[in-house]
């Protein structure tokens, strides 16, 4: 159990995908304008990422390895993502009405997000078991939404700040993201993965 929490913690804080700039930074930038849009995307990520991580693990261990088809890995992963997104879009109504209303709009955006494919590939790299990949999925989703919510609230303040004209808009957001990543470096070495 502690293994589960450790991975979850490390995926959310220590090597947070946006902060270490691995994947998922660009879509987060696009959604930093308004709070309700950002929370919507975070909810979608929280639903989608664990599913995709687990699906990736299952397909990899049961389908590709026994049939030595791991060269098809990328193609199959992309198609599973699309499959899951469409399934969710169609059948999330039965899951729960309120959640469906919130995440339905964002599902296509979340589907094509670099973070999703990045998760599946990173999963293989760390050669996780089933439980570990689930923890990794949830942890990454939490990390993604943490940084996204922080930045969305900050953007509202940055727009009013007397930023010198060449830096107004996206540059100052990127600088803030850089400073946040610098702060997250404090967590490095926290959990020796």
């Amino acid at each position: 159990m502690t293994e589960f929490i450790l991975i979850l913690f490390s995926a959310a804080l220590v090597n947070n995908i946006i902060v270490l700039g691995i994947v998922g930074a660009d879509p987060a930038l696009a959604f930093m304008r308004r709070m309700d849009v950002a929370t919507g995307l975070c909810l979608t990520m929280l639903v989608l990422l664990p599913l995709v991580a687990v699906a990736g693990y299952l397909i990899d261990t049961w389908l590709l390895l026994p049939l030595q088809l791991d060269y098809l890995q990328l193609l199959v992963f992309v198609s599973t993502i699309i499959l899951i997104t469409l399934l969710l879009k169609k059948y999330s109504r039965f899951l729960n009405q309120k959640l469906d209303a919130r995440i339905n709009v964002f599902l296509p955006f979340a589907g094509i997000n670099t973070a999703v494919l990045g998760i599946m590939l990173l999963n293989l790299e760390f050669s996780n078991t089933f439980l570990k990949s689930l923890a990794f999925g949830i942890g990454t989703a939490l990390g993604f939404s943490l940084v996204l919510l922080l930045m969305t609230a900050a953007v509202e303040r940055l727009e009013v700040a007397d930023v010198p004209s060449p830096f107004k808009g996206l540059p100052i957001i990127l600088i803030s993201l850089a400073l946040i990543s610098m702060a997250f470096m404090g967590f490095s070495g926290l959990i020796l993965h």
Binding site: L67, T80, L83, K89
Partner: protein, 178 residues
């Protein structure tokens, strides 16, 4: 051989799901109304579209930019940018300049009662009947200037609207010294 089979299965599953998914989500039309609610409803056509609703549709489908509405001016552009999460751009001078609100005024002694302006007015702000005197209802007039052109005798002029008898300037602090 099995690889091709697997890819085929995935492709078919995705195709099935794709054609049965819902078309434009209701979310889309509600947003058009919210965009339309921000526009000044002058129906003047200065943005290049016949009225505010078509302009709102055009904005929604990215055919029109958010800075083509002179009557709305900076204020409307800022609100549209906030709603749609787009960059705040200055008003596009091609469509006209932002100025104080204007109200049409019919010069009674020239007007011949030809009802052409009543037909042209998008918001029925001109009261009058054929061969009878026409006057503009100042509260209703949105200042879209559509009635100025059709008038054969050019008796309609646009006057700056003075609020409650005194011209209120927004940004005038009491005494600005250097």
């Amino acid at each position: 051989m099995i690889g091709i089979l697997i890819i085929l299965i995935f492709a078919i599953a995705i195709a099935l799901l794709l054609n049965s998914s819902r078309s434009q989500t209701p979310e889309q039309d509600k947003l058009v109304d919210r965009v339309d609610a921000l526009l000044p409803q002058t129906q003047c056509g200065q943005c290049g579209y016949p009225g505010c609703k078509p302009y709102a549709d055009a904005i929604m489908h990215n055919q029109a930019d958010i800075n083509q509405c002179p009557p709305g001016g900076r204020n409307t552009i800022r609100k549209l940018a906030n709603l749609l999460g787009r960059e705040i751009k200055p008003l596009n001078p091609v469509h006209g300049k932002e100025g104080p609100k204007k109200i049409a005024y019919i010069d009674e002694d020239i007007c011949i009662g030809c009802v052409k302006c009543i037909k042209a007015c998008p918001v029925d702000a001109i009261a009058g009947a054929p061969k009878l005197m026409h006057t503009v209802i100042t509260e209703e007039c949105t200042g879209c200037e559509l009635c100025v052109a059709p008038c054969p005798v050019d008796c309609i002029s646009m006057l700056v609207y003075v609020q409650g008898g005194r011209r209120v300037k927004l940004e005038a602090p009491m005494r600005v010294t250097v």
